[in-house]
Amino acid sequence: MQLLEGTQGFNIIKQWLLQKNREPFTFQSGTWQHIINGESGLVNAPTGCGKTFSVFLGALIDFINKHPDDYQIQKKIGLKLLWITPLRALAKDIGRAMEEVIGELGMGWKIGIRNGDTDIAERNRQKKQMPEVLIITPESLHLLLAQKGHAEFFRSLHLIAVDEWHELLGTKRGVQVELAISRIVGLTPQPPLLAERGSCISESRMYPMVWGISATIGNLEEATSVLIAPLSARRGVGGEASQIVKADMNKQIEVESILPDEIEKYPWAGHLGIKLAYKLIPIILESKTTLIFINTRGMSETWYQTLLNVCPELAGSIALHHGSIDMELRTWIEENLHKGTLKAVVCTSSLDLGVDFRPVETVIQVGSPKGVARFLQRAGRSGHSHDAISKIWFLPTHSLELVEAAALKNAMAQDVVESRQPMMLCYDVLLQYLNTLAISDGFVPESTYDEIVSTHCYKDLSQEEWRMILYFITQGGQALQQYDEFRKIEIEDGIYRITSRKVAMRHRMHIGTIVSDTMMKVKFMTGGYIGVIEEYFISRLEPGDVFTLAGRHLEFVMIKDMTALVRKSNAKKSIVPSWQGGRMPLSANLGKMLRATLDSVSQSAVGSRQSTVSIVTPSVAEGRQSAPDSYRDGSQQIIGSSPLTIHHSPLTKHPELEILRPLFDLQEELSHVPKENELLIEQIETKDGFHLFVYPFEGRLVHEAMAAILAFRISRIHPITFSFAMNDYGFELLSDQPIPVDDTNVYELFTPDDLLNDIQRSVNSTEMARRKFRDIAVIGGLIFQGFPGEQKKARHLQASASLLFNVFSEYDPHNVLLRQAYQEVLDQQMEEVRLRDMLNRIQHSNIVIRFPQQLTPFCFPIKVDSMREDLSSEKLEDRVRKMQKQLVE
């Protein structure tokens, strides 16, 4: 092994850094050492601290070491470094930074960019002569693989870097990256070939290295092994171990909650945040630039308006950034963020990724960030020098969310971060990929199968499934023999190819895995493009209706050529579009931290118990867990003797919990604050009927599924119908008759036994699968969206996903894409694994059933959410006020 220090490449790079008054960070030189060793792995570093250079400079050092005498004059030597990035917008900045280094080192390398924005001339130049570095998106990489003779592009490739791997992992774009790596590794010339050319590199060195760059996630090791799986498979067990280099930057993060002056004991989601908006103004005014993260596009529109109303002086120096806003406008905002000319930007996850905006000093998170990793990432958007403290403000949208702030702090103290689960067996992406190979040089099933199962995603793909997939792409599934003209992939001399130019062109248009809803452009009557909006929202508008987009009030005039035409409006009121999706559930980790945080509250305040108390202990004897000691404070006293006295201990060290004290006291008085090893169930009778509230703190998706399963299981005991409501903390079953849940049957009702069957019987998984099928059908090539500007010609090939779903369900029920839709429902919609974990946890905890005489602080937000569906927002506000008043009196 060659030591990094002392190599010519290292000296040159070190000198270059010194000229800039910089020194390599330990994680950078660590990565360089691994790269000159020819190893693969992953760099774990936050944005904005030189992660790009860790891999890029490593590749340069390696190159210089191999060409010590002529590294400066070597040019047009073909692709050396392939840089995969999820964001088009990042490419330019990264490219510029790389070009600067190359220029200052006096090297002849070219840096190329290839993505949807790259023009044809540039692409053709690249085809003739690949630049030494190519920055590319996963989609464009697959388009490159769709070209004839693509093997030539990668012949001299030395290193594949995958930037922001944490963002790609767990998505279908990540699967595209896995497949592309498996292909490039598979294309690596065999040793004899090289030997003929007089090379003497050992076999293990011939494959390109693969390096991921990732922010902190809970499963870095898995993330690494997913990325380099094709290499590991080639080298066999006992091949070189992958390397994980962690940047020990120890970035300090300070979280401060914006506390309401008065705590509502009956919280509800939706209005508190806006009421606190005035408290943001001094924060915004005091710092250079502030990013305000809002969870949904709809709410970001509302917030933008509110901030302008509260502080009109901000007009002109505040902007709104979300996924539906015109690309040009977004680019303008991003440029001004760089320049520091904007005071504040209200944004959604649209600014989660990407380059660092140096002027950003302050970050505000409005509402629950739903997960620890996301919160950390957003916090990291402020305070850029690596020793600066990143400060993030948390503004709750209802008072209980303050518990989340405390839980987030605890999570950070304990380094609890979410994992990203890699996706498995995505047949849709595989079908698309096979078509991609078929339009390039074609493929041979045997060797392609080996390549595909070398990826993590398809490692469990059986021969049987493989045959089904080949049958589907060559024969088109069920057909009427002599009356069929199915034509897609044809077999010539054992090679699977697409020969029809039309089919090939159509496929090329459809490479990619990001399926957006049908969006409609929004334009002024006088011209001028504002943004895009979901078609279904527009379809519900009448001419004259006023809605908000990009912070403007717009009056809807008409639809013309798939464009919604609008004019400016001075109306005071407008409809804020609710964009579909974007409602992330609370992560499992944050849920766990929430339960632990509540435990500390519960331990510190013990009130009197009402007479209608029953504590149920599990019937299972073994394996019961109690709360870990770390959440308990030894100094506390638990005294429950005198009625209605509450003993406070200093345990609630977070101001967020301190201010919520009255709420917890009320909760404890009426019902109970659950400890970590408890599941709280409340049964309440109101004039609406009989309510059953359950608080697992597992996020709304799990709650939705659990509510349906529980309802099904109860109805087996006794015929009864329910309506459901849920939020991230718990769920409600409501019925017009008493709900037969008590200590005799509650453990049985929450059993993990027979879970799959009960899911199938209780949840309308067909409808859920139908919704999932849309993306799958587009990715898998069943839905043809037409060529841009040519929609009409393809009219005879239009069929909606829903219709195709019906047709396949009836006439080809074993179709792999259909199967995938149901599997995705289980994995993503129901979070089956998490559901099962929850039920197992509940089996080993104490289930506490309470019968409060009135609604409690915990159940109130769920109750309000269940009313939300049938009421307008103003009426809802009135109703809620009345309810709050009645309850407090």
Partner: protein, 221 residues
């Protein structure tokens, strides 16, 4: 299978079948719309692997209805075929030969774009845009009613083209959509016969009659 439901118009008896067609008793005629024959074949030819079983099933359903009502005549109010010619249509031609005594009228729809020779071979009488059998008239698209002469205006029109569907609100937030027969005062819109078709949601007036096709049953709304 549920029995057809009688619907009377101008003293004529029309039997509404849950198999998406109407039987006109007085004329011993079956009325259908939007068969879109060859649609799955058209998709398959373009490399989109729609199972062909749906086409076969459509043909079999049509055959079953013809046998059930023992009709002499079939009126198609447009869109017999889906697109340009393909092999799937050969199956129809073969099938047509088994029903050689059946008279078929086709009111041309926007999808009926095949060569005249094909209609000749299939022994189908093609009408340019309307078929008048007083007091009724058969059109493809309801919109072409405007083009009618004054003396034809009062005729009751049977039309297709729209693929009407009705949305029924279920429990919770769910709403389900079903294909439907739509009877208004002066016209009727038939559901698309082919099951490989989508639906366009109609918004009925108070006096209109709608038969939703739920699975294989008719539900009068």
């Amino acid at each position: 299978m549920q029995n057809p439901i009688l619907y009377t118009l101008h003293h004529n008896s029309f039997w509404v079948s849950p198999e998406r067609c109407l039987f006109w008793e007085e004329e011993n005629t079956l009325i259908v719309a939007d068969l879109h024959l060859g649609k799955s074949g058209h998709f398959r030819k373009a490399g989109i692997a729609v199972p062909q079983g749906i086409y076969k099933a459509d043909l079999q359903r049509l055959m079953a209805q013809l046998y059930l009502f023992k009709v002499d005549r079939l009126i198609i109010v447009g869109d017999l075929t889906h697109s340009t010619e393909n092999k799937e249509l050969d199956l129809f031609i073969r099938w047509r030969k088994d029903f050689s005594l059946l008279h078929i009228d086709l009111v041309t729809g926007n999808h009926d774009i095949l060569q005249d020779s094909w209609y000749e071979e299939a022994d189908i009488k093609r009408l340019e845009w309307k078929l008048v059998i007083p007091p009724f008239i058969f059109l493809h698209d309801l919109k072409s009613k405007k083009k009618l002469a004054v003396n034809e205006m009062d005729l009751y029109a049977f039309t297709g083209h729209l693929h009407p569907g009705i949305s029924i609100k279920g429990s919770g937030k769910q709403s389900l959509r079903f294909p439907c027969f739509y009877f208004a005062k002066e016209y009727c819109v038939l559901p698309a016969f082919s099951r490989f078709t989508g639906t366009y949601i109609v918004d009925p007036e108070k006096d209109d009659t709608v038969f939703a096709i739920v699975e294989d049953r008719l539900v009068k709304l």
